[in-house]
Protein backbone atom coordinates (compact mmCIF):
# COMPACT_ATOMS: atom_id res chain seq x y z
CA UNK A 1 0.00 0.00 0.00
CA UNK A 2 1.27 3.41 -0.93
CA UNK A 3 0.29 6.31 1.19
CA UNK A 4 1.18 9.73 -0.09
CA UNK A 5 0.37 12.80 1.93
CA UNK A 6 1.38 16.38 1.29
CA UNK A 7 0.26 19.33 3.34
CA UNK A 8 2.43 22.23 2.30
CA UNK A 9 2.04 25.61 3.88
CA UNK A 10 -0.07 28.38 2.51
CA UNK A 11 2.43 31.24 2.20
CA UNK A 12 3.72 30.06 -1.18
CA UNK A 13 1.52 29.40 -4.18
CA UNK A 14 1.90 25.70 -3.53
CA UNK A 15 -0.34 22.76 -3.06
CA UNK A 16 -2.53 21.73 -0.18
CA UNK A 17 -3.26 18.14 -0.72
CA UNK A 18 -4.06 15.17 1.38
CA UNK A 19 -4.70 11.96 -0.41
CA UNK A 20 -4.01 8.28 -0.43
CA UNK A 21 -2.86 6.56 -3.57
CA UNK A 22 -3.55 2.88 -3.98
CA UNK A 23 -0.70 0.56 -4.77
CA UNK A 24 -0.31 -0.05 -8.49
CA UNK A 25 -2.81 2.59 -9.56
CA UNK A 26 -2.38 5.59 -11.81
CA UNK A 27 -3.50 8.91 -10.37
CA UNK A 28 -3.57 12.04 -12.48
CA UNK A 29 -3.15 15.46 -10.93
CA UNK A 30 -5.30 17.69 -13.10
CA UNK A 31 -5.60 21.44 -12.98
CA UNK A 32 -4.89 24.70 -14.82
CA UNK A 33 -1.33 26.01 -14.94
CA UNK A 34 -0.17 27.39 -11.62
CA UNK A 35 -2.58 25.26 -9.60
CA UNK A 36 0.28 23.60 -7.74
CA UNK A 37 0.13 20.19 -9.37
CA UNK A 38 3.73 20.24 -10.55
CA UNK A 39 4.90 21.55 -7.19
CA UNK A 40 3.15 18.65 -5.54
CA UNK A 41 4.94 16.22 -7.81
CA UNK A 42 8.27 17.90 -7.15
CA UNK A 43 7.67 17.59 -3.43
CA UNK A 44 7.16 13.87 -3.79
CA UNK A 45 10.35 13.64 -5.85
CA UNK A 46 12.29 15.72 -3.32
CA UNK A 47 12.97 18.78 -5.48
CA UNK A 48 10.73 21.03 -3.41
CA UNK A 49 10.13 21.00 0.29
CA UNK A 50 6.68 21.01 1.83
CA UNK A 51 6.40 23.61 4.57
CA UNK A 52 4.19 21.30 6.58
CA UNK A 53 2.90 17.77 6.37
CA UNK A 54 4.41 14.47 5.48
CA UNK A 55 4.93 12.30 2.45
CA UNK A 56 4.67 8.61 3.19
CA UNK A 57 5.48 5.78 0.81
CA UNK A 58 4.48 2.34 2.07
CA UNK A 59 4.24 3.81 5.55
CA UNK A 60 7.80 5.15 5.37
CA UNK A 61 8.21 8.89 5.87
CA UNK A 62 10.29 10.25 2.98
CA UNK A 63 9.53 13.93 3.59
CA UNK A 64 13.10 14.82 4.53
CA UNK A 65 15.03 12.41 2.33
CA UNK A 66 17.31 13.77 -0.39
CA UNK A 67 16.04 13.05 -3.91
CA UNK A 68 18.71 10.41 -4.48
CA UNK A 69 17.49 8.42 -1.52
CA UNK A 70 13.82 8.40 -2.44
CA UNK A 71 12.03 5.44 -4.00
CA UNK A 72 10.68 7.67 -6.74
CA UNK A 73 11.57 8.22 -10.38
CA UNK A 74 10.46 11.15 -12.45
CA UNK A 75 9.79 11.70 -16.12
CA UNK A 76 10.26 15.38 -16.83
CA UNK A 77 8.16 17.51 -19.11
CA UNK A 78 11.15 18.28 -21.31
CA UNK A 79 12.43 14.71 -20.83
CA UNK A 80 15.71 15.95 -19.30
CA UNK A 81 17.77 13.44 -21.22
CA UNK A 82 21.49 14.01 -20.73
CA UNK A 83 22.57 15.44 -24.07
CA UNK A 84 26.19 14.33 -23.82
CA UNK A 85 25.30 10.68 -23.34
CA UNK A 86 23.79 8.34 -25.90
CA UNK A 87 20.60 6.42 -25.19
CA UNK A 88 22.52 3.51 -23.73
CA UNK A 89 24.38 5.62 -21.20
CA UNK A 90 21.28 7.61 -20.35
CA UNK A 91 19.68 4.33 -19.38
CA UNK A 92 22.64 2.75 -17.58
CA UNK A 93 23.66 5.82 -15.53
CA UNK A 94 21.25 5.17 -12.68
CA UNK A 95 22.07 1.50 -12.52
CA UNK A 96 25.81 2.18 -12.50
CA UNK A 97 25.33 4.65 -9.67
CA UNK A 98 23.63 1.85 -7.76
CA UNK A 99 26.59 -0.43 -8.44
CA UNK A 100 24.59 -3.15 -10.12
CA UNK A 101 26.78 -5.70 -11.84
CA UNK A 102 27.45 -4.96 -15.51
CA UNK A 103 25.79 -8.11 -16.76
CA UNK A 104 22.56 -7.42 -14.90
CA UNK A 105 22.62 -3.85 -16.20
CA UNK A 106 23.10 -5.02 -19.75
CA UNK A 107 20.20 -7.42 -19.69
CA UNK A 108 17.88 -5.04 -17.82
CA UNK A 109 18.54 -2.25 -20.28
CA UNK A 110 18.12 -4.49 -23.28
CA UNK A 111 14.82 -5.79 -21.97
CA UNK A 112 13.66 -2.24 -21.30
CA UNK A 113 14.69 -1.07 -24.78
CA UNK A 114 12.64 -3.87 -26.25
CA UNK A 115 9.67 -3.01 -24.09
CA UNK A 116 9.54 0.64 -25.13
CA UNK A 117 10.41 -0.23 -28.72
CA UNK A 118 13.79 1.49 -28.91
CA UNK A 119 16.00 -1.47 -29.72
CA UNK A 120 18.60 -0.39 -32.25
CA UNK A 121 18.69 3.22 -31.12
CA UNK A 122 21.16 2.57 -28.25
CA UNK A 123 23.90 4.65 -29.79
CA UNK A 124 21.86 7.63 -30.84
CA UNK A 125 22.19 10.84 -28.89
CA UNK A 126 19.05 12.56 -27.58
CA UNK A 127 19.32 15.30 -30.20
CA UNK A 128 19.08 12.65 -32.91
CA UNK A 129 15.77 11.31 -31.63
CA UNK A 130 12.24 12.42 -32.41
CA UNK A 131 10.06 13.82 -29.63
CA UNK A 132 8.23 10.55 -29.21
CA UNK A 133 11.46 8.58 -29.02
CA UNK A 134 12.91 10.96 -26.45
CA UNK A 135 9.76 10.53 -24.45
CA UNK A 136 10.18 6.78 -24.45
CA UNK A 137 13.83 7.01 -23.45
CA UNK A 138 12.83 9.22 -20.52
CA UNK A 139 10.17 6.73 -19.50
CA UNK A 140 12.57 3.81 -19.85
CA UNK A 141 15.18 5.62 -17.77
CA UNK A 142 12.68 6.16 -14.98
CA UNK A 143 11.34 2.61 -15.12
CA UNK A 144 14.82 1.09 -14.95
CA UNK A 145 15.19 2.62 -11.49
CA UNK A 146 12.36 0.33 -10.41
CA UNK A 147 10.75 3.08 -8.37
CA UNK A 148 7.96 2.48 -5.92
CA UNK A 149 6.32 5.62 -7.23
CA UNK A 150 6.64 6.77 -10.82
CA UNK A 151 6.20 10.52 -11.31
CA UNK A 152 5.22 11.94 -14.69
CA UNK A 153 5.24 15.72 -15.10
CA UNK A 154 3.13 16.58 -18.16
CA UNK A 155 5.07 13.97 -20.07
CA UNK A 156 3.04 14.34 -23.26
CA UNK A 157 2.79 18.10 -23.55
CA UNK A 158 5.71 18.40 -25.96
CA UNK A 159 4.21 15.96 -28.45
CA UNK A 160 1.78 16.89 -31.19
CA UNK A 161 -1.89 16.10 -30.72
CA UNK A 162 -1.77 12.88 -32.67
CA UNK A 163 1.36 11.49 -31.08
CA UNK A 164 0.07 12.42 -27.65
CA UNK A 165 -2.82 9.99 -27.84
CA UNK A 166 -0.56 7.19 -29.01
CA UNK A 167 2.09 7.63 -26.37
CA UNK A 168 -0.62 8.05 -23.75
CA UNK A 169 -2.01 4.62 -24.53
CA UNK A 170 1.49 3.18 -24.46
CA UNK A 171 2.25 4.70 -21.07
CA UNK A 172 -0.99 3.38 -19.66
CA UNK A 173 -0.39 -0.07 -21.05
CA UNK A 174 3.14 -0.26 -19.62
CA UNK A 175 1.96 1.07 -16.28
CA UNK A 176 -0.73 -1.57 -16.09
CA UNK A 177 1.63 -4.34 -17.11
CA UNK A 178 4.21 -3.38 -14.48
CA UNK A 179 1.57 -2.47 -11.88
CA UNK A 180 3.58 0.53 -10.86
CA UNK A 181 2.10 3.25 -8.66
CA UNK A 182 2.07 6.41 -10.76
CA UNK A 183 1.38 10.09 -10.31
CA UNK A 184 0.70 11.80 -13.62
CA UNK A 185 0.48 15.59 -13.83
CA UNK A 186 -1.47 17.13 -16.68
CA UNK A 187 -3.53 20.18 -17.51
CA UNK A 188 -5.46 18.33 -20.20
CA UNK A 189 -8.71 17.00 -18.81
CA UNK A 190 -9.26 14.54 -21.63
CA UNK A 191 -5.82 13.06 -21.02
CA UNK A 192 -6.45 12.97 -17.29
CA UNK A 193 -9.71 11.06 -17.48
CA UNK A 194 -8.60 8.77 -20.31
CA UNK A 195 -5.52 7.39 -18.59
CA UNK A 196 -6.32 7.40 -14.88
CA UNK A 197 -7.62 5.09 -12.26
CA UNK A 198 -8.28 8.15 -10.17
CA UNK A 199 -8.16 11.85 -10.90
CA UNK A 200 -7.20 14.56 -8.41
CA UNK A 201 -8.57 17.88 -9.64
CA UNK A 202 -6.59 20.78 -8.23
CA UNK A 203 -7.05 24.53 -8.33
CA UNK A 204 -5.23 27.40 -6.63
CA UNK A 205 -3.07 25.09 -4.60
CA UNK A 206 -5.91 23.00 -3.24
CA UNK A 207 -7.36 19.59 -3.96
CA UNK A 208 -10.92 20.13 -5.19
CA UNK A 209 -12.07 16.59 -5.93
CA UNK A 210 -10.45 13.18 -5.90
CA UNK A 211 -12.22 10.28 -7.55
CA UNK A 212 -12.50 7.94 -10.49
CA UNK A 213 -12.70 9.49 -13.96
CA UNK A 214 -16.33 8.41 -14.07
CA UNK A 215 -17.02 10.14 -10.77
CA UNK A 216 -15.17 13.30 -11.76
CA UNK A 217 -17.01 13.48 -15.05
CA UNK A 218 -20.54 12.66 -13.98
CA UNK A 219 -20.55 13.75 -10.36
CA UNK A 220 -18.48 16.91 -10.13
CA UNK A 221 -19.01 18.16 -6.61
CA UNK A 222 -17.67 21.63 -7.27
CA UNK A 223 -18.37 24.17 -9.97
CA UNK A 224 -14.69 24.30 -10.85
CA UNK A 225 -14.60 20.60 -11.61
CA UNK A 226 -17.84 20.79 -13.59
CA UNK A 227 -16.40 23.57 -15.69
CA UNK A 228 -12.88 22.24 -16.08
CA UNK A 229 -13.55 18.59 -16.87
CA UNK A 230 -15.40 17.92 -20.08
CA UNK A 231 -18.04 20.26 -21.41
CA UNK A 232 -20.79 21.31 -19.04
CA UNK A 233 -23.66 23.68 -19.69
CA UNK A 234 -23.53 26.11 -16.78
CA UNK A 235 -26.28 28.69 -16.58
CA UNK A 236 -27.57 30.82 -13.73
CA UNK A 237 -31.00 29.52 -12.85
CA UNK A 238 -33.05 27.74 -10.27
CA UNK A 239 -34.74 24.48 -9.48
CA UNK A 240 -38.40 24.57 -8.45
CA UNK A 241 -41.15 22.03 -8.00
CA UNK A 242 -42.29 22.83 -11.53
CA UNK A 243 -38.94 22.17 -13.10
CA UNK A 244 -35.64 23.79 -13.93
CA UNK A 245 -35.85 27.55 -14.47
CA UNK A 246 -33.43 29.03 -17.00
CA UNK A 247 -33.70 32.60 -18.24
CA UNK A 248 -37.19 32.89 -16.75
CA UNK A 249 -38.43 29.83 -18.64
CA UNK A 250 -39.45 26.74 -16.70
CA UNK A 251 -38.26 23.62 -18.44
CA UNK A 252 -40.96 20.94 -18.20
CA UNK A 253 -39.81 17.86 -16.31
CA UNK A 254 -41.23 18.80 -12.89
CA UNK A 255 -40.90 17.31 -9.47
CA UNK A 256 -37.28 18.17 -9.11
CA UNK A 257 -37.22 19.64 -5.64
CA UNK A 258 -39.83 20.58 -3.08
CA UNK A 259 -38.47 24.01 -2.16
CA UNK A 260 -37.02 26.27 -4.89
CA UNK A 261 -33.23 26.63 -4.91
CA UNK A 262 -31.26 29.21 -6.86
CA UNK A 263 -27.75 28.92 -8.13
CA UNK A 264 -25.89 27.77 -11.19
CA UNK A 265 -27.56 24.97 -13.10
CA UNK A 266 -25.25 22.46 -14.73
CA UNK A 267 -25.82 19.61 -17.16
CA UNK A 268 -23.66 17.88 -19.70
CA UNK A 269 -24.42 18.07 -23.43
CA UNK A 270 -25.04 14.31 -23.27
CA UNK A 271 -27.74 14.98 -20.69
CA UNK A 272 -29.74 17.08 -23.13
CA UNK A 273 -32.01 14.81 -25.11
CA UNK A 274 -33.66 15.78 -28.38
CA UNK A 275 -37.26 14.63 -28.50
CA UNK A 276 -38.70 12.66 -31.38
CA UNK A 277 -41.16 14.62 -33.52
CA UNK A 278 -44.36 15.41 -31.72
CA UNK A 279 -43.13 14.52 -28.26
CA UNK A 280 -43.32 17.32 -25.69
CA UNK A 281 -40.22 19.23 -24.70
CA UNK A 282 -38.77 22.71 -24.65
CA UNK A 283 -38.78 24.47 -27.98
CA UNK A 284 -35.40 25.58 -29.28
CA UNK A 285 -33.54 26.60 -32.43
CA UNK A 286 -30.46 24.75 -33.62
CA UNK A 287 -27.88 27.45 -34.33
CA UNK A 288 -24.52 25.74 -34.63
CA UNK A 289 -23.12 22.31 -35.37
CA UNK A 290 -19.78 20.90 -34.45
CA UNK A 291 -18.65 17.44 -35.53
CA UNK A 292 -16.61 15.67 -32.90
CA UNK A 293 -16.12 12.23 -34.34
CA UNK A 294 -18.88 9.80 -33.49
CA UNK A 295 -20.74 12.44 -31.55
CA UNK A 296 -21.72 15.88 -32.79
CA UNK A 297 -22.44 18.85 -30.65
CA UNK A 298 -25.16 21.35 -31.37
CA UNK A 299 -25.96 24.70 -29.95
CA UNK A 300 -29.60 25.21 -28.99
CA UNK A 301 -30.95 28.70 -28.49
CA UNK A 302 -34.26 29.87 -27.11
CA UNK A 303 -35.75 32.03 -24.40
CA UNK A 304 -33.99 29.89 -21.81
CA UNK A 305 -30.68 31.02 -23.21
CA UNK A 306 -28.08 29.04 -25.07
CA UNK A 307 -26.95 25.50 -24.43
CA UNK A 308 -25.10 22.66 -26.05
CA UNK A 309 -26.39 19.18 -26.73
CA UNK A 310 -24.54 16.07 -27.84
CA UNK A 311 -26.14 13.83 -30.42
CA UNK A 312 -24.87 10.86 -32.39
CA UNK A 313 -23.34 12.07 -35.64
CA UNK A 314 -25.97 10.16 -37.63
CA UNK A 315 -28.91 12.00 -36.04
CA UNK A 316 -27.81 15.59 -36.46
CA UNK A 317 -30.58 18.06 -37.30
CA UNK A 318 -29.75 20.84 -39.73
CA UNK A 319 -28.61 24.21 -38.44
CA UNK A 320 -31.48 26.69 -38.41
CA UNK A 321 -34.19 24.10 -37.79
CA UNK A 322 -36.34 23.87 -34.69
CA UNK A 323 -35.99 21.11 -32.14
CA UNK A 324 -37.43 20.08 -28.80
CA UNK A 325 -35.42 18.80 -25.90
CA UNK A 326 -35.65 17.60 -22.34
CA UNK A 327 -32.97 17.43 -19.68
CA UNK A 328 -32.15 14.00 -18.30
CA UNK A 329 -30.17 15.16 -15.31
CA UNK A 330 -29.39 18.49 -13.69
CA UNK A 331 -27.06 19.67 -10.98
CA UNK A 332 -27.23 22.92 -9.05
CA UNK A 333 -24.17 24.68 -7.67
CA UNK A 334 -24.19 27.38 -5.01
CA UNK A 335 -23.44 30.69 -6.70
CA UNK A 336 -21.23 31.86 -3.82
CA UNK A 337 -19.38 28.77 -2.60
CA UNK A 338 -19.45 26.92 -5.94
CA UNK A 339 -20.27 23.71 -4.10
CA UNK A 340 -22.80 21.19 -5.43
CA UNK A 341 -26.19 21.54 -3.73
CA UNK A 342 -28.55 19.39 -5.77
CA UNK A 343 -27.98 16.58 -8.26
CA UNK A 344 -31.12 15.06 -9.77
CA UNK A 345 -31.85 12.63 -12.53
CA UNK A 346 -35.04 13.66 -14.33
CA UNK A 347 -37.63 11.23 -15.62
CA UNK A 348 -38.10 12.34 -19.18
CA UNK A 349 -41.81 12.92 -19.62
CA UNK A 350 -41.06 12.97 -23.30
CA UNK A 351 -41.10 9.20 -23.24
CA UNK A 352 -37.69 9.12 -24.82
CA UNK A 353 -35.80 5.88 -24.62
CA UNK A 354 -33.29 6.34 -21.83
CA UNK A 355 -31.05 3.58 -23.18
CA UNK A 356 -30.59 5.38 -26.44
CA UNK A 357 -28.40 8.30 -25.59
CA UNK A 358 -24.68 7.91 -25.28
CA UNK A 359 -24.97 9.41 -21.82
CA UNK A 360 -24.53 8.03 -18.35
CA UNK A 361 -26.81 5.91 -16.23
CA UNK A 362 -29.32 8.22 -14.61
CA UNK A 363 -28.82 7.97 -10.90
CA UNK A 364 -32.18 8.76 -9.40
CA UNK A 365 -31.54 11.24 -6.70
CA UNK A 366 -28.93 9.21 -4.92
CA UNK A 367 -26.44 12.05 -4.94
CA UNK A 368 -28.68 14.91 -3.89
CA UNK A 369 -26.70 16.89 -1.41
CA UNK A 370 -28.75 19.87 -0.27
CA UNK A 371 -32.28 21.20 -0.48
Amino acid sequence: MDLVKVYPGAQKPAAQISMEVEDGSLVTLLGPSGCGKSTTLRMVAGFAEPTRGRILVDGRDITHLRPEHRPTAMVFQNYALWPHMDVWHNLTFGLEVRRKNPKAIRSAVEAMLAMVGLTGLEHRYPAQLSGGEQQRVALARALLLEPEVLLLDEPLSNLDAHMRVRVRDEVRSIQQRLKITTLFVTHDQEEATAIADKVAVMNQGGLIQFGTPFDIYWNPRHLFVADFVGRMNLLPGAMTAQGVVLGGVTLPPGGVVERPVEGIVGFRPEEVELCPDGAPGTQARVTQLSMRGGVSELTLEGEFGRLRAAVPSNRVPLAGTAARFVLRRVRLYDAATHVLRVDRALQGEAGADPSRAGGPPPRPGERSVGA
Binding site: G46, R66, E68, A73, M74, F76, N78, P83, F93, G94
Partner: protein
Protein backbone atom coordinates in the same frame (compact mmCIF):
# COMPACT_ATOMS: atom_id res chain seq x y z
CA UNK B 1 -0.16 46.46 -60.02
CA UNK B 2 1.41 43.09 -60.75
CA UNK B 3 4.17 42.80 -63.33
CA UNK B 4 7.41 44.30 -62.15
CA UNK B 5 6.21 45.05 -58.61
CA UNK B 6 8.78 42.86 -56.93
CA UNK B 7 7.49 41.67 -53.61
CA UNK B 8 10.50 40.35 -51.79
CA UNK B 9 13.40 42.59 -52.88
CA UNK B 10 15.16 44.33 -49.99
CA UNK B 11 14.60 48.08 -50.32
CA UNK B 12 17.73 49.86 -51.48
CA UNK B 13 19.61 46.59 -51.66
CA UNK B 14 22.25 48.00 -54.00
CA UNK B 15 23.17 50.80 -51.61
CA UNK B 16 23.32 48.27 -48.81
CA UNK B 17 25.68 46.12 -50.83
CA UNK B 18 28.03 49.10 -51.11
CA UNK B 19 27.87 49.76 -47.36
CA UNK B 20 28.58 46.11 -46.64
CA UNK B 21 31.53 46.09 -49.01
CA UNK B 22 32.81 49.23 -47.33
CA UNK B 23 32.62 47.68 -43.89
CA UNK B 24 34.29 44.53 -45.15
CA UNK B 25 37.11 46.55 -46.70
CA UNK B 26 37.46 48.61 -43.55
CA UNK B 27 38.08 45.42 -41.62
CA UNK B 28 40.13 43.58 -44.18
CA UNK B 29 42.41 46.21 -45.71
CA UNK B 30 44.35 47.03 -42.52
CA UNK B 31 44.94 43.32 -41.93
CA UNK B 32 46.04 42.82 -45.51
CA UNK B 33 48.31 45.82 -45.28
CA UNK B 34 49.85 44.37 -42.12
CA UNK B 35 50.55 41.05 -43.80
CA UNK B 36 52.06 42.75 -46.83
CA UNK B 37 54.40 44.83 -44.69
CA UNK B 38 55.45 41.81 -42.63
CA UNK B 39 56.44 39.75 -45.64
CA UNK B 40 57.74 42.61 -47.77
CA UNK B 41 61.37 42.52 -48.88
CA UNK B 42 61.30 45.82 -50.76
CA UNK B 43 58.26 48.01 -51.10
CA UNK B 44 58.45 51.49 -52.55
CA UNK B 45 55.75 54.01 -53.17
CA UNK B 46 53.53 54.09 -55.27
CA UNK B 47 53.43 50.34 -55.94
CA UNK B 48 50.37 48.57 -54.56
CA UNK B 49 52.33 45.41 -53.83
CA UNK B 50 55.88 44.92 -52.52
CA UNK B 51 58.54 44.49 -55.14
CA UNK B 52 60.10 41.57 -53.30
CA UNK B 53 58.99 39.12 -50.61
CA UNK B 54 61.10 37.97 -47.70
CA UNK B 55 61.10 36.73 -44.13
CA UNK B 56 63.83 39.14 -43.12
CA UNK B 57 61.65 41.17 -40.78
CA UNK B 58 60.63 38.06 -38.89
CA UNK B 59 64.28 37.19 -38.42
CA UNK B 60 64.90 40.77 -37.33
CA UNK B 61 62.17 40.80 -34.71
CA UNK B 62 63.20 37.48 -33.23
CA UNK B 63 66.79 38.65 -32.99
CA UNK B 64 65.91 41.64 -30.80
CA UNK B 65 66.28 40.68 -27.15
CA UNK B 66 63.78 43.29 -26.02
CA UNK B 67 61.08 41.92 -28.24
CA UNK B 68 61.61 38.21 -27.56
CA UNK B 69 61.65 38.97 -23.87
CA UNK B 70 58.24 40.64 -24.21
CA UNK B 71 56.91 37.61 -26.06
CA UNK B 72 58.15 35.28 -23.33
CA UNK B 73 56.68 37.54 -20.64
CA UNK B 74 53.28 37.65 -22.31
CA UNK B 75 53.21 33.92 -22.81
CA UNK B 76 54.12 33.43 -19.15
CA UNK B 77 51.68 35.85 -17.55
CA UNK B 78 48.60 35.02 -19.60
CA UNK B 79 48.43 31.31 -18.67
CA UNK B 80 49.13 32.07 -15.00
CA UNK B 81 46.42 34.72 -14.86
CA UNK B 82 44.00 32.38 -16.64
CA UNK B 83 44.71 29.62 -14.15
CA UNK B 84 44.16 31.91 -11.18
CA UNK B 85 40.97 33.21 -12.78
CA UNK B 86 39.74 29.62 -13.16
CA UNK B 87 40.21 28.88 -9.48
CA UNK B 88 38.67 32.12 -8.30
CA UNK B 89 35.92 32.64 -10.82
CA UNK B 90 34.57 29.23 -11.81
CA UNK B 91 33.03 28.50 -8.40
CA UNK B 92 31.60 32.00 -8.41
CA UNK B 93 30.30 31.43 -11.93
CA UNK B 94 28.58 28.24 -10.84
CA UNK B 95 26.95 30.13 -7.99
CA UNK B 96 25.86 32.93 -10.34
CA UNK B 97 24.44 30.43 -12.78
CA UNK B 98 22.72 28.15 -10.33
CA UNK B 99 21.70 29.89 -7.15
CA UNK B 100 19.83 32.99 -6.29
CA UNK B 101 21.46 34.85 -3.45
CA UNK B 102 21.69 38.27 -1.89
CA UNK B 103 23.19 40.90 -4.22
CA UNK B 104 23.63 38.39 -7.06
CA UNK B 105 22.26 40.77 -9.68
CA UNK B 106 24.16 43.78 -8.37
CA UNK B 107 27.39 41.84 -8.41
CA UNK B 108 26.86 40.61 -11.97
CA UNK B 109 25.98 44.08 -13.21
CA UNK B 110 28.98 45.42 -11.32
CA UNK B 111 31.23 43.02 -13.16
CA UNK B 112 29.72 43.95 -16.50
CA UNK B 113 30.05 47.65 -15.71
CA UNK B 114 33.81 47.29 -15.28
CA UNK B 115 33.92 46.19 -18.89
CA UNK B 116 31.91 49.07 -20.33
CA UNK B 117 33.50 51.55 -17.94
CA UNK B 118 36.73 53.26 -19.01
CA UNK B 119 39.13 50.90 -17.36
CA UNK B 120 41.96 53.31 -17.02
CA UNK B 121 40.31 54.92 -14.03
CA UNK B 122 39.79 51.58 -12.39
CA UNK B 123 43.41 50.66 -13.06
CA UNK B 124 44.64 53.87 -11.49
CA UNK B 125 42.57 53.20 -8.41
CA UNK B 126 43.91 49.64 -8.27
CA UNK B 127 47.47 50.78 -8.94
CA UNK B 128 47.49 53.17 -6.00
CA UNK B 129 46.30 50.34 -3.76
CA UNK B 130 49.03 48.05 -5.12
CA UNK B 131 51.49 50.88 -4.56
CA UNK B 132 50.44 50.99 -0.92
CA UNK B 133 50.98 47.23 -0.73
CA UNK B 134 54.39 47.53 -2.39
CA UNK B 135 53.23 45.37 -5.30
CA UNK B 136 53.99 47.82 -8.07
CA UNK B 137 56.67 46.52 -10.43
CA UNK B 138 56.21 42.96 -9.16
CA UNK B 139 54.92 39.87 -10.94
CA UNK B 140 52.12 39.48 -8.39
CA UNK B 141 50.96 43.03 -9.08
CA UNK B 142 50.82 42.33 -12.80
CA UNK B 143 48.82 39.15 -12.19
CA UNK B 144 46.35 41.03 -10.00
CA UNK B 145 45.87 43.85 -12.45
CA UNK B 146 45.44 41.48 -15.40
CA UNK B 147 42.93 39.48 -13.38
CA UNK B 148 40.55 42.43 -13.54
CA UNK B 149 39.99 42.00 -17.28
CA UNK B 150 39.28 38.29 -17.01
CA UNK B 151 36.41 38.81 -14.60
CA UNK B 152 33.78 39.45 -17.24
CA UNK B 153 34.37 36.42 -19.43
CA UNK B 154 35.09 34.14 -16.52
CA UNK B 155 32.02 35.00 -14.52
CA UNK B 156 29.46 36.01 -17.15
CA UNK B 157 30.16 33.46 -19.80
CA UNK B 158 30.93 30.62 -17.45
CA UNK B 159 27.88 31.51 -15.36
CA UNK B 160 25.85 31.39 -18.54
CA UNK B 161 27.29 27.99 -19.32
CA UNK B 162 26.40 26.63 -15.90
CA UNK B 163 23.06 28.39 -15.85
CA UNK B 164 22.31 27.03 -19.31
CA UNK B 165 22.43 23.48 -18.02
CA UNK B 166 18.75 22.76 -17.43
CA UNK B 167 18.09 22.12 -13.77
CA UNK B 168 16.10 19.08 -14.77
CA UNK B 169 19.25 17.40 -16.07
CA UNK B 170 20.71 17.62 -12.59
CA UNK B 171 17.47 16.67 -10.94
CA UNK B 172 17.18 13.62 -13.17
CA UNK B 173 20.65 12.58 -12.04
CA UNK B 174 19.72 13.06 -8.38
CA UNK B 175 16.57 11.11 -9.06
CA UNK B 176 18.67 8.33 -10.51
CA UNK B 177 20.58 8.11 -7.23
CA UNK B 178 23.63 10.28 -7.83
CA UNK B 179 24.79 12.62 -5.05
CA UNK B 180 25.55 16.33 -5.63
CA UNK B 181 29.26 15.79 -6.36
CA UNK B 182 28.75 13.00 -8.83
CA UNK B 183 25.96 14.98 -10.47
CA UNK B 184 28.33 17.93 -10.94
CA UNK B 185 31.12 15.79 -12.32
CA UNK B 186 29.08 13.56 -14.60
CA UNK B 187 26.29 15.89 -15.72
CA UNK B 188 26.75 19.61 -15.03
CA UNK B 189 30.41 20.00 -15.97
CA UNK B 190 30.32 17.96 -19.20
CA UNK B 191 27.17 19.71 -20.40
CA UNK B 192 28.58 23.15 -19.52
CA UNK B 193 32.02 22.34 -20.96
CA UNK B 194 31.76 24.19 -24.29
CA UNK B 195 30.72 27.43 -22.61
CA UNK B 196 33.35 27.09 -19.92
CA UNK B 197 35.98 26.52 -22.59
CA UNK B 198 34.93 29.69 -24.39
CA UNK B 199 35.13 31.56 -21.08
CA UNK B 200 38.64 30.29 -20.36
CA UNK B 201 39.88 31.18 -23.81
CA UNK B 202 38.41 34.66 -23.73
CA UNK B 203 39.96 35.14 -20.29
CA UNK B 204 43.32 34.11 -21.71
CA UNK B 205 42.98 36.61 -24.54
CA UNK B 206 41.92 39.37 -22.14
CA UNK B 207 45.04 38.78 -20.04
CA UNK B 208 47.23 38.44 -23.09
CA UNK B 209 46.08 41.73 -24.60
CA UNK B 210 45.99 43.76 -21.41
CA UNK B 211 48.08 46.91 -21.85
CA UNK B 212 46.89 49.78 -19.66
CA UNK B 213 46.89 48.09 -16.27
CA UNK B 214 50.20 46.34 -16.92
CA UNK B 215 51.62 49.67 -18.07
CA UNK B 216 50.71 51.24 -14.74
CA UNK B 217 51.79 48.39 -12.48
CA UNK B 218 54.44 46.46 -14.40
CA UNK B 219 56.62 49.22 -15.87
CA UNK B 220 59.51 49.24 -16.34
CA UNK B 221 60.29 45.61 -15.51
CA UNK B 222 57.33 43.79 -16.99
CA UNK B 223 56.94 45.05 -20.54
CA UNK B 224 54.59 42.54 -22.12
CA UNK B 225 53.87 42.49 -25.83
CA UNK B 226 50.94 44.93 -25.83
CA UNK B 227 53.07 47.47 -23.95
CA UNK B 228 56.00 46.91 -26.25
CA UNK B 229 53.71 47.87 -29.13
CA UNK B 230 53.88 51.51 -28.04
CA UNK B 231 57.66 51.64 -28.17
CA UNK B 232 57.92 49.56 -31.31
CA UNK B 233 55.78 52.05 -33.20
CA UNK B 234 58.17 54.84 -32.30
CA UNK B 235 61.53 53.09 -32.24
CA UNK B 236 61.51 50.36 -34.89
CA UNK B 237 61.03 50.29 -38.68
CA UNK B 238 57.50 49.81 -39.92
CA UNK B 239 57.79 46.18 -41.11
CA UNK B 240 59.02 45.20 -37.62
CA UNK B 241 55.84 46.65 -36.13
CA UNK B 242 53.81 44.67 -38.64
CA UNK B 243 55.61 41.45 -37.78
CA UNK B 244 55.24 42.09 -34.07
CA UNK B 245 51.52 42.80 -34.54
CA UNK B 246 51.14 39.51 -36.31
CA UNK B 247 52.96 37.67 -33.55
CA UNK B 248 50.71 39.38 -31.02
CA UNK B 249 47.63 38.34 -32.97
CA UNK B 250 48.65 34.72 -33.47
CA UNK B 251 47.36 33.22 -30.19
CA UNK B 252 44.05 35.07 -30.54
CA UNK B 253 43.72 33.87 -34.07
CA UNK B 254 44.37 30.23 -33.20
CA UNK B 255 42.18 30.22 -30.11
CA UNK B 256 39.29 32.00 -31.77
CA UNK B 257 39.43 29.50 -34.59
CA UNK B 258 39.26 26.69 -32.03
CA UNK B 259 36.18 27.95 -30.23
CA UNK B 260 34.48 29.43 -33.25
CA UNK B 261 31.74 26.83 -33.37
CA UNK B 262 30.88 27.32 -29.72
CA UNK B 263 30.65 31.06 -30.10
CA UNK B 264 28.39 30.54 -33.07
CA UNK B 265 26.45 27.98 -31.09
CA UNK B 266 25.48 30.86 -28.84
CA UNK B 267 27.09 29.88 -25.57
CA UNK B 268 27.81 33.54 -24.90
CA UNK B 269 24.29 34.70 -25.50
CA UNK B 270 22.92 32.79 -22.54
CA UNK B 271 24.80 35.04 -20.14
CA UNK B 272 22.39 37.88 -20.55
CA UNK B 273 19.41 35.71 -19.82
CA UNK B 274 20.65 35.22 -16.29
CA UNK B 275 19.79 38.68 -15.06
Amino acid sequence: MTGQAAVRRAPGSRLLGVVMLGIGAFLLLPLLNLVLWAFAGRWFYPSLLPQAWSLQWFRYVFSQGHLTHAIVLSLTFAPIVTLVACFVCLPAAYAFGRFDFFARRSLMIGILATNAFPRFGLYIGLATILYGLNLVDTALGVVIVQLLGTLVPMTWIAAAAFGGVPRELEQAARDAGAGPMRTFARITLPVAAPGVLVAVILAFLAAFDEAQGTFLVGMPRYQTMPIMMYSIVAGYPEPAAAVFSMVLATPSFILLLLVRRYIIGGSIAAGFSLL
